[in-house]
Amino acid sequence: MGPQHPSTHGVLRLVLEIDGETIVRLRPEIGYLHTGIEKTCEAKFYQQVVPLTDRIDYLCPLTNNLTYCLAVEKLLGLEIPPKAQWMRVLMNELTRINSHLVWLGSHAMDLGAMTVFLYCFREREDILRFFEMISGQRMMTSYFRIGGLALEPPLGFFEKVKNFADRFPGNVDEYEGLLTGNPIFMMRTKGVGRISAEDAIALGACGPTLRGSGVDIDLRRDAPYTGYENFKFKVPLGAEGDVFARYICRVQELRESIGMVQQALAGMPEGPIKADAPKVVLPDREKMKTQMEALIYHFKIITEGFTVPAGEVYQAVESPRGEMGYYVVSDGTAKPYRVHMRGPSYANLQALSKMCEGSLIADVVAAVGSIDVVLGDVDR
């Protein structure tokens, strides 16, 4: 099955050993998208790595930006002003909604429900417009930088997000109306691709795949970063560990995320969006044109980069797909000695064999969809 198959969401090849229609053994073959990002990072300055992180997971570029920035900020011992932190939470939750919408649409389409796909992409378009407003890019945003944000959010941005956030719970009802009680959808998902909590932990599954099996873990709550401790939200859990449980988890997460967007909008503090550390953070354009010192710092950061004290950091963040970890090693120079990305899709893919073995070929499509695999994240 694959590497070119509409239901694998990219170039994933699954080697199936079958007995009639039943799967005896399933083996994922990956590497088709391997671009050597980890190697490339070692040849770049710290700030030049940020755009590379966008390219890993095209459904949540901002989460990748965030994880990398947090790791380097931890290495530097850099404190981020509150407004930048709240903006990071806001954008991160919009990214989660964006990613879950693409997942929901394509997952439903794999199982034969075309309408949901069109509805989901309608709302996703709104979110992509927000990304375009703040960064000028719809997908490869690079909006989070080491030390804060790239730009001040434009005028009218918060009102637009507010309108969207007020409307969105109704949209989720719409998707749920089409799927949650739908007998065809239930038959395709209930009891399919089941995995127990023990197996899911042993095989390294993470995120909604793990929570669908009833394991209570969410890094936003358990190890808060970038100000998540100020937000109230529930962690939806499943019990069955099947495709339907993972579906319910993610749909509930959509509602929780939009709640967090509302909280972020209501409590958005005033203040700077960048840390006051001129040797690390690029100066404002205005300052650069008027102040000699700012110009010098700008020149030095661009041409020589900035040095980071030697050490190592593993920063884990709850991405839409689960634990996304960046392991950054510094040797005290301006370029990272080693950057390793722990992709959540890579981890979830290992659990796929367990979900599918013993079931029917047609159920593989449902199971692959339910782990929400992004191949850029797997192969890096």
């Binding site: 590497g31 190697k39 011992g77 042993a202 550390a277 900035f306 040095t307 981890a347 290992q350 192969d379």
Partner: protein, 184 residues
């Protein structure tokens, strides 16, 4: 505590801005004993622990490479704080220094919400280490990746083949002596 400026140059002390001071790393085993992972390992076999470091809120333990599988199994079966989840497994190449490779394990205890980093040092001549797939089946892909990109062999691995690069690829791309542009 002395205020350090995180090594961002020394010409202007004001330039640090919002940089908070970095606490110096703690390497004394006695002080670090309160961490459940280190306490359990010292209790089990003090000679397995080569060194430990607490830096930037993260604990690193260097363990004897010959005992890596036992160490992992002991930590997984810890009674109060079972490190039941292998979050990540990777490698760092310190070429041309020796021992050249450091295999890095990031463990997470889901019930106790603790993390610990294990490291095993390997020589550059023929790097090999016992596989931990019998402790956590999830190590399977990670060890294959390290084998593929660094050329570190894992003995007892069920399927040690290349995972990212094509099967007939020559060399191990993430080694420091492998050029960024590749061989042409």
């Amino acid at each position: 505590m002395e205020k350090g400026r995180a090594g961002l140059g020394s010409d202007s002390p004001e330039a640090g801005g919002h940089l908070v001071r970095l606490a110096p790393p703690v390497t004394d085993l006695e002080t670090l004993k309160s961490h459940p992972a280190l306490a359990r390992l010292l209790d089990w076999n003090a000679s397995a622990v080569q060194a430990a470091k607490f830096d930037r809120d993260e604990l690193t333990i260097w363990v004897d490479k010959a005992l890596i599988r036992e160490v992992c199994a002991i930590l997984r079966d810890h009674t109060q704080c079972p490190f039941n989840y292998l979050a990540d497994l990777t490698c760092v190449d310190w070429h041309p220094l020796e021992p050249r490779f450091e295999v890095v394990y990031h463990l997470l205890s889901i019930p106790a919400k603790e993390r610990v980093r294990l490291k095993a040092r390997l020589d550059g001549s023929s790097p090999a280490l016992e596989s931990v797939t019998s402790v956590w089946p999830s190590a399977n892909f990670y060890e294959r990746e390290v084998f593929d990109l660094f050329g570190v062999r894992f003995t007892g691995h069920p399927n040690l083949k290349r995972i990212m690069m094509p099967d007939d690829w020559e060399g191990h791309p993430l080694r420091k002596d492998y050029p960024v542009e590749g061989y042409r």
